[in-house]
Symmetry: D2
Subunit: 359 residues, 4 copies
């Protein structure tokens, strides 16, 4: 039997269940009886560019189902810079292709998010055999209803809101918890609803600060001394949303606030005299052991990716749609973001229960 030579890399910001997904791929290959050699590239595409890899065996993937992070290391290599030569004039795309061929790889498995999928698609178009897996806490990848990392991040952000809840209630205070998500609001929406936030501000639904203030005062009148606000990193005011991209960038650069949450806090103080505390769980949201949901989900995706490899079907991301595992052509995925629809049912339901989105 011919040995299959399989490259593997994890790219972009790390998240939970990367190891679980890789374990799913490798267990499937091992269990099939197919002989394989696994070339694990170190620190994402960088490893592929510079030929930095180590050979992995089954035992490397044993016991990592519950382990956070990635045993391969990861790094961000923005798509924009991928197509530019490095500081020594090296053509990176060319280098990746050369290393792929030099190692006589049969395929390359890429675990990544949005940017990583653009590069994966490029490599696929350049003729490499690529299979990808949708990794991101943001759940913003096109072509799949769900990404692994997302539910684990929801759990961590919710735990933060839970902690803030007891202290906010005890002190009768307004608290902002800033949740990850520069462009999309899935994570903030879900953590906000799970944590019982009263106000949720998302990139997809520009907010009117007066609506936010109204909600706080309405709660106060009804006897609730405290208010919890879940704010996505990329939450945006109606004023700023109306600006041109250029003006917005200028405004951001001029801003004295480390993030939008602090600006909102200041505005609430100004308009109501209430001091607002800001908490930023930050990078904790992408760390730690994956939750059971993500472990199962990543294992399933990994198994399907393993099967595609066994069948020599390449050029796909393994995704999840309408409760079915599907293979999505890479060129459909690359370059698109899956935004939260402001008219989505879940938003309607959140509003039914009285949650304010500032719109």
């Amino acid at each position: 039997m011919k040995v299959k030579r399989i490259g593997m890399l994890t790219s972009g910001g790390d998240c939970q269940a990367l190891n679980a997904a890789m374990r799913g791929v490798v267990k499937t290959l091992a269990h099939s009886g197919q002989k394989v050699e696994i070339y694990g590239f170190i620190d994402g595409y960088k490893g592929l560019i510079y030929g930095d890899f180590r050979m992995l065996t089954g035992s490397d993937f044993s016991g990592i189902l519950t382990k956070g992070g990635t045993i391969l290391g990861s790094s961000r290599t923005p798509f924009k810079t991928i197509t530019e030569p490095d500081e020594n004039g090296l053509d990176k795309v060319d280098a990746m292709k050369q290393n792929y061929y030099k190692l006589r790889l049969d395929c390359l498995v890429v675990l990544g998010g949005n940017g990583s999928h653009k590069t994966a698609n490029l490599l696929s178009e350049e003729g490499l055999n690529i299979v990808t897996l949708p990794k991101t806490i943001d759940n913003d990848l096109w072509g799949t209803d769900m990404t692994f990392g997302f539910q684990s991040a929801v759990d961590i952000a919710t735990a933060a809101i839970d902690c803030i809840h007891t202290t906010a209630a005890s002190h009768g205070r307004v608290f902002i918890v800033e949740v990850m998500g520069h462009k999309v609001g899935w994570l903030t929406l879900n953590a906000g609803m799970a944590g019982g936030a009263d106000i949720i501000l998302l990139p997809e639904i520009p907010y009117d600060i007066d609506k936010v203030v109204d909600k706080i005062e309405e709660r106060e009148k009804a006897g609730s001394k405290f208010t919890i606000i879940a704010v996505a990193e990329g939450a945006i005011s109606k004023e700023k949303a109306a600006m041109s991209k250029k003006d917005r960038k200028k405004a951001d650069e001029k801003s004295k606030y480390p993030s939008v949450s602090y600006e909102i806090a200041d505005q609430i103080l100004e308009k109501t005299g209430r001091e607002v505390r800001v908490t930023v769980p930050g990078h904790t949201q992408r760390g730690g052991s994956p939750c059971p949901y993500d472990r199962v989900f990543a294992t399933r995706l990994g198994a399907e990716a393993g099967e595609l490899i066994l069948k020599n079907e390449y050029g796909f991301m393994v995704g999840y749609r309408n409760r079915e595992i599907v293979k999505v052509p890479l060129d459909e995925v690359a370059g698109k973001l899956k935004y939260l629809d402001p008219d989505a049912t879940i938003i309607k339901e959140a509003k039914l229960t009285g949650i304010c989105f500032g719109d």
Copy 2:
């Protein structure tokens, strides 16, 4: 505006997110501006039969999003006995109708599992306005892809397997973790996969003990000294599955084992000389704070139930299908179980990664 008079009860074994779901209903009604009176029946249908209730206000539902159990209490009132008179000759169905009319209820919200839905459907057929919500850790309700309680139970059962994993590995032992589920295997399958179980035995896939033993020995040969087996309460051997229902019952009565796990442990001991430890997380699986997934999910279902009430649409369970909230006619739900298909994709994927189901 006419006040809406709404009865509410939680029936059957309790589970996580019952309170979250009721909060979703009540918050939606309150936020709509509709005036309501909430009659909370104590301990499930028993409260409705004997007119045991208390009036609830908005503040009863404040702060309970994260609280396990049910603020109304619950009890099991099997469908079979519902249609029989009680020890004082009281006709229970008649009593429920009388209490409903006496309190001039506009509708009754029932949170329950399988048995409870049969009774809910009966009451609906008798002319009462019923809305139900799908509650069970077993995820075995017909008409909905998901029930609340399920994911929280997966988390708890997985945590148990995680703990067992380290001790099994340290001692090189075979361990059985018995997971809840007499008739269906959703919970065991998901907890087993999330916990990295090597063997998973389910009610829907009768096992051959020799296949189980083979897997243990195959692992040993490959250098793995320990094996984790996730066994559903209702796991069944091929021999027993082939019996008539009557013979099976007889066999169960004669069995000296407290549950099937202990029988399997004994058989492994006999066939391999290996002592097997059994751990039974038991009722812990339905207790404690709901996980974030269940909190969001139950809130959404509750909101939709609230909307149905506002629109006077009755006779439905609020369910979830293909990622959409749907209303399912009660007579479609009642009396059917949603089994796990042995040919389901998730089973295929689990097998791809080498998990043994004993078939």
Copy 3:
């Protein structure tokens, strides 16, 4: 039997196990058969000053063992301002005494930290019957080896470091986790050791930034691409520690950094070219359900406080020393901080294992 009239208040920043401690007091009184009336003052000393209270019964304390925050609410009323008249010219100390006598209280139970103990001692000196319980996540109260809230906060801060650990390792980065503690380092030290931090910077051990940089580079040479630094809010450089208090204050005011962590991050960047990420779990550290250790500990202290009340012994904080519950005269506690000794055994042990304190 004469009814005992007992006032109770929680003062200062909230923390875990406040409810558990109050439950311990009230359960002990109830179980003794002594008839009591509980006057719960709202939002700390403020409630006592302005006569804002509500009567509490046994059922208010049922089910709150595991509940974070405080059912009485809390607020910070600094000792300095306590002795000053309020904006309407009200003498606050006088007002507290008057309310105490007007309600004919037999005693006042105060759950508080450092500042709160100064006020408690003052009231005691003014003739009120006071019993206090040591509440703070900082574990900096004089006269007791342990305070409740501390271990729960250690758990939360450690969980944050655990999450950061996987992401730091995956990306080969230097990460700072800023842990609460402006004046003392108990929390940072314990969370840092539990989270496997490589460098721990504390208020009691001024750091030399070059020692910090050396450690990072030493780790790199030894093959560890990442470094975790646990920094207390009140960590201080050797330069600043050498300043007069006045100069230090001036330097703080001029600083462009939101906290010392960001300054350290910048210095590391300058000296090594390495980008450093800062994570601030912030207020989450004082919220959420108390850990089992704190529940037991707070219950024990509460029980002993209840017994003191039954015996009419006042003027004490119930503390814990050398594994025994002790009563400590209030004037011994007030105004002193329990610092971490830089020569403590635990510091020596941490250093033995290679942890760098920057000294």
Copy 4:
């Protein structure tokens, strides 16, 4: 510099923080600059007897601070059988000595509980250089106030009671949670108090079943429909405690119950007509990641053990007394159990709050 040759083994039932403790030892040796060779014996004393070991390096101990179980494996080798020849006539004590000398070890580090300390003391008396660390979830080792594993086990058992609490309250039921501890009650006492158990039954305080029943009925009269009972595996009735050891053994053998909890459940049913549910978290209590308390504690003990080795001080267990790390001569530790004193302050306090011990 002479290389130090250090043997290491983990013996008896595994528990949390074994890896953390070994990491503490090895980090201390590495950081001291002392050259060392670590011989890790596989599966406890068995590895030493049969010469089964592997060489360990610093990297084996990296990243294991948070990892449950033991990287060396463990097994129970009862003291009684240690002094008997094996099935091939091998003198085990002699074999251990020979392997120690053959490998030219400078010392042996033993992590173990009660039985393991008897063997360690024997080896010490035979002239080997021994340092031990107190490992057990039972906290029953003589000579130390605390053992690692204990607090982690308290956390897990408490989490189980927390889950049961919500379901017990929802169904108005009596629930027994059986906590580990055949001979001592530390774990059950602490988990019971932390979980809010109403009744706690311990090996050291024989119970009167009528007192248990009285408490249940007293609670019912006071309006509490449910009762939580924490029962140690070794809980014992007054009748049985009064028996001779021989009679007791006979009674145990005749018993139809898998454990005392089931017997108590039956007795409550008989005397009150109430069905009682039993939950047994079992082996989960010794598994999973150590809690922060145990990680810090085990690291400290490990560091001190490392320092003893550097100073060539042998024949000691590193323990913890009155908040100080101490070295305890092995012959003081061996063969003694640290029981819970029925008159201990913590028991008094538990009783003050109304907890019933059945005495």
